[in-house]
Symmetry: C2
DNA sequence: CTGAAAGCGCTAACAG
DNA sequence: CTGTTAGCGCTTTCAG
């Protein structure tokens, strides 16, 4: 590992001069600049960002805390975030917590110890004490939260209007004549679950459709839980004619259950998902879903983060996205064939 | 940000003593230990790993270079790698290159500058000059390659026997009576593509089945390319009765094409994938595929990496995994219905 | 068992 | 325009 000292010796200048030309800070004559650059090339010098970080108190790295990269929503999100961060010169520490608050706390400590310049959280729990504690202990550290709400804390939030999204999904189903619509939710502690359930109820109430408690389920954001719960739902005597899944992943599970039970989508069962992840177009029939603008969200997250780091002032910024319905092939008007009696 | 100095003052000891008790190095009396720990707690001290890194020349971080986290194979792999690394106290810098060598080179430099303790590459190109250059410039840096072969370089390799895997896939298809079997490959510069194609030819030759050049395609490891090429293949007059896809992702594209063309899997078309990713069980019918032991590979990668870092000696270690056929629902004997004339 | 001191590699005043 | 110097926060001999 060659250091700045050796470069200085090779170029016959002082280390500060080397530092200057490499950082393009301060004045340096063309001639010395050239000498330095030549020495750098000759020795194949690669400056140590860790030493620089120590001085500048800037590591040029960000922590990204998500539940699980295997979940398609987070891999899509992580990709844009990493891309954007990289284009601003930042690297990303990837942290998978499985929504485990203990694990999350450990990661937070580690990230702080490693001197990250900011932390991005995606989909925190509703009652996430770690974030509150983090902000209390390190009020200066820029934080952006994707899909969480902490009105009392000075941190940045990127949210999507889940209630609105769910409402749009439900209105679509109701417009198609469905009345027996089930909701398969995710964790009861997540914003996404809670708010999408609110949108579900809102639309139903608005149309005066009574809510059937048996049709409302909260479980996990996994394919497996979509499968399990759809199996149960679709084997009832009064099975629903439509299912609104809290996420595309859950919808994938619903498809699997329907296929096993020989229930055709969309003829015998309409389904709408949420996220418009990669899955939506892969499924057959292609999934009608609510589009969460993942790329835009990731982009904004980094923009806000970078701005916060550069300006060194901690303010609260909130950006809200409105999701839209993407109509594909998984829904159908009930008169056109959808019926619980058709099996 | 409270420093070790303040802790020392609070505990009324020297900073070296604080360092000692925090690192559990050297002797310290129970009493001073307690004093220090109390001060740490009181001040909510969090040691700076970047300062420590500078002294110890160990950042406790690893670089992970992959093509794209959105690709299910890499998100599955990344998850195990991150988990395992974390359990050894390491963090991961995630780097997506899209197989762009220029981008890869930039990431490598950045990782070096940030002082990573090792770099893990997944699925490098066959002719990856960056890795050679890296090893020349930093022979001491531990490197592990997943799915690549650099016999001349002193680095660790985790490989799966792709030829064997493809051979098993093909034998399965041939045993079912198929003769018109297409191969949809990925990038021609990737080991996976090349070797799986070798296995394809090997099996065909062994059974004396002539190879139809029209049935062999190389493109990308994307769903989209599976789709595009299957569309073409399946609209030929002499369309294949089976398709061996180079990866599960590509198989997903094949499914999509088949569905659009109203070709039933497995009755009219058998398909086998490769990887046994999350997709395999999601698809309907569930995909018969070759299982790449992703978790085991990730685990071994970290084990070897950690060992290399700890022992500070650079040796070449190679581990080979044999993939196996996982029979599910996407293949069928040709007599039982599979026929190119049945459309 | 504990403290003083040197120094990791770099940056940033401050002189010159 | 360039060199000297003082640290950044920590670990680690080396004395005591």
């Amino acid at each position: 590992m060659v250091t700045i000292k050796e470069v200085a010796k090779e170029a016959k200048v002082s280390i500060s001069t080397v530092s200057r030309v490499l950082n393009k800070s301060g004045y340096t004559s063309e001639k010395t600049k050239e000498k330095v650059l030549n020495a750098v090339k000759k020795l194949n010098y690669q400056g140590s960002l860790v030493a620089a970080a120590m001085k500048k108190k800037q590591t040029l790295t960000l922590g990204l805390i998500i539940p699980d990269i295997k979940n398609i929503f987070y891999s899509d999100l992580t990709r844009t975030i990493e891309d954007r961060a990289n284009s601003h010169g930042f690297n990303i520490f990837l942290c998978n917590t499985d929504n485990n608050l203990q694990k999350e706390a450990e990661y937070i400590h580690l990230l702080i110890a490693k001197g990250v310049d900011g932390i991005i959280f995606s989909s925190p729990e509703v009652d996430d004490g770690n974030i509150k504690e983090l902000k209390e202990n390190y009020p200066e550290l820029p934080v952006v939260i994707l899909g969480g709400k902490f009105p009392k804390l000075i941190l940045n939030e990127i949210v999507v209007d889940n209630v609105d999204g769910a409402y749009k999904a439900m209105r679509h189903l109701l417009d198609l004549g469905h009345k027996d619509i089930a909701f398969i939710g995710g964790d009861l502690e997540s914003y996404a679950s809670i708010e999408r359930h609110q949108g579900y109820k809102l639309a139903l109430n608005e149309r005066g459709v009574p809510i059937n408690d048996d049709y409302v389920i909260f479980d996990k954001f996994y394919i497996q839980s979509g499968y399990k719960n759809a199996m149960r739902l679709l084997q009832k005597n009064d099975r629903p004619t439509a299912i609104f899944a809290v996420s595309d992943s859950v919808a994938v599970g619903v498809y699997k259950a329907a296929r096993e039970l020989n229930i055709r989508i969309p003829e015998q069962l309409s389904v709408v998902g949420f996220d418009d992840s990669q899955y939506a177009e892969i499924l057959s029939p292609m999934l009608t879903t609510i589009r969460t603008p993942i790329n835009e969200m990731g982009q904004r997250a980094i923009e806000i983060m970078v701005k916060a780091i550069k300006e060194k002032q901690i303010i609260k910024e909130t950006v809200l996205f409105y999701p839209n319905l993407i109509e594909r092939e998984s829904t159908m008007a009930i008169e056109a064939g959808n019926s619980k009696r058709m099996t």
